[in-house]
């Protein structure tokens, strides 16, 4: 006898024979955010799992329709809040495509964008690793990974002004060049990464308890992953080597040497290994950028849509006027629609932007990687133990800012 919920808040836990309907969340220490999973369990085995989302629905897409093109990136950054820079990157690349200036972004700006996005990827995976460990009781990993994340957030703050949502990537390039001293701080992070990563792997990778809890849990085959629209590390752990950075390179990714780690087992342990390897590959890209960082401007020369350097505003009337215009009423983007994907830490994060020629976006539709990654929970949870629910949610790595927007 199966019970479909007809109201969101389950007031009663129902008992019938050996079956129980249990509402996990939306306030729960291990659901990685505001997720409610209404599970039917028979003893300890899950027979049905229905995730309920929407508890963080923020109306970001509608807010963005009422903000200027330059302002919309501030609210868009708050979608996938674990790696805000990938949201901003995808949106800004899409706007630049509509403006027709994708080819004119200076190389230094492209390199710094990739640098910060890869740092953001490592920071996001640090949160995943820490919270994934802490869900299973492995608390030490949390402390180690969050310390690494602190150093990366320090870099964010140094370059962009804020730890989590710096709004440093702008349409046309960056908001000002990297401050002096940034590269030294980056070197410190690069040096600390390898020993720290070794410590974190030592904590969990061969830990028999961790392996017991994650191996053969939440298995997804390659066909199922494609049918459910899974992208990112979850798809790669199932055996399909699809990475947007390789398939549809953007912002100079074709110039860097990096691998795309894949596995075939498709279980939670495979996803764990893939994400750890991805952190290593991200650091590889960061090292290459550090070695080959070029000089030059960081914004497009055309100041009709990218603010002129602050130093010129006091000297040139035109620069002053352009700056004023951009800040007070932004610029017009030619009409059209575009879909721009990037490889976020959770998979293919894409933006479908529609412009009607105005100074505000007409529609900002997100292709939220986490929504599809989370939806498959309905399928993989059936037949697993209730104790595995936490492992599965952690291995899918959803971020509810992106799922609910």
């Amino acid at each position: 006898m199966s019970v479909l919920p007809d109201s969101i808040a389950m007031d009663v836990v129902e008992h019938t024979n050996n079956r129980m309907v249990l509402s996990m969340g939306p306030q729960h220490p291990s659901t990685h955010g505001v997720l409610q999973v209404i599970t039917e369990i028979e003893g300890e085995v899950i027979t049905k799992a229905e995730p309920e989302i929407g508890y963080l629905h923020t109306g970001i897409e509608k807010s963005a329709e009422n903000l200027f093109w330059t302002q919309a990136s501030t609210v868009i950054e708050r979608m996938d809040y674990l790696s805000p820079l990938s949201n901003a990157m995808a949106y800004i690349l899409a706007v630049e495509q509509l403006l027709g200036v994708s080819a004119e972004i200076p190389e230094r700006a492209q390199q710094v964008r990739v640098l910060l996005c890869e740092l953001s990827r490592i920071a996001s995976h640090c949160v995943w690793l820490g919270t994934g460990g802490i869900d299973l009781g492995a608390i030490s990993t949390f402390f180690y990974s969050f310390d690494l994340r602190e150093r990366i957030l320090d870099l964010n703050e140094f370059a962009g002004g804020a730890r989590m949502h710096p709004n440093y990537l702008r349409i046309g390039g960056l908001n000002g060049d990297l401050p002096t001293g940034f590269l030294d701080k980056l070197d410190i992070v690069i040096d600390m990464y390898e020993p720290r990563m070794r410590e974190m792997r030592n904590l969990l990778q061969k830990n028999p308890i961790f392996q017991d809890r994650t191996i053969d849990v939440g298995i997804l085959t390659a066909e199922e992953s494609l049918a459910w629209g899974i992208t990112g590390p979850t798809l790669r752990a199932a055996g399909v080597a699809y990475d947007v950075r390789k398939a549809f390179p953007y912002s100079g990714y074709e110039n860097y040497e990096f691998d795309v780690p894949t596995r075939t087992e498709g279980d939670a342990y495979a996803r764990f290994l893939v994400r750890l390897d991805e952190m290593d590959e991200a650091m590889r890209i960061i090292r290459q950028i550090r070695k080959n960082l070029v000089g030059g401007p960081v914004t497009v020369a055309d100041t009709k849509f990218s603010t002129p350097p602050k130093e010129t505003i006091a000297l040139s009337m035109e620069a002053l006027i352009h700056h004023f215009k951009i800040v007070s009423e932004s610029f017009r983007v030619p009409p059209g629609d575009v879909y721009q994907p990037v490889e976020g830490p959770r998979g293919e994060l894409g933006y479908y932007l529609v412009s009607n020629g105005d100074n505000r976006p007409w529609r900002v539709r997100t292709r939220p990687a986490s929504l599809y990654n989370l939806q498959v929970l309905k399928k993989i949870a059936v037949g697993e133990l209730i104790a595995d629910m936490v492992v599965m949610i952690g291995s899918l790595d959803p971020v509810f800012g992106e799922v609910d927007r």
Partner: protein, 160 residues
């Protein structure tokens, strides 16, 4: 509290001792909603370490928590749940509204976000920021501790 000179005991009021105990062990509820929740988690991490202020554990059950840190934007769908959790917490309880979204709706002045969690539950300390740095949250916990020590809403004789 006084130390009686020459003797081996302290003299004090029950109220003072109780307040000192409450202030030194404020246990928050895990009420992480959005980006601010990540900064709240960072406040438990080694660099900021909220445990040294007494918040050694974050309790998942509202019955066992003293402090609700509303960290993140409160969506309309989540509002009744926050109210229910607040009601389920036992007295005395305190609320920190962490971040701009919890304090006033933040950047999101739209149909989906409750414009300030203080429209549904009473708040003791507001922390500005988007998100506030973990230092800000630690200062807010300090302010809660001061409020507890000085009595008022948080004293042992307080009603809800």
């Amino acid at each position: 509290m006084e130390i009686i000179p020459g003797q081996q005991f302290l003299l004090g009021k029950v109220d003072d001792v109780a307040r000192w105990a409450q202030a030194s062990s404020v246990w928050p509820l895990t009420m992480g909603l959005a980006c601010c929740a990540i900064e709240m988690m960072t406040a438990t991490a080694p660099e900021y370490d909220i445990a040294r202020l007494g918040s050694e554990v974050f309790r998942a059950s509202p019955r066992q928590a003293d402090l609700m840190i509303v960290s993140g934007r409160v969506a309309r769908k989540m509002a009744p749940i926050i109210k229910r959790l607040y009601d389920q917490m036992a007295d005395p309880k305190w609320v920190i509204s962490m971040g701009a979204c919890a304090s006033s709706g933040g950047v999101f002045d739209n149909y989906a976000i409750v414009q300030g969690v203080d429209t549904i539950i009473p708040v003791d300390v507001y922390v500005p920021g988007c998100p506030p740095t973990p230092d800000g949250l630690l200062y807010a916990v300090n302010l809660i501790q001061q409020q507890i020590r000085q009595g008022g809403r948080g004293g042992i004789l307080a009603r809800a």
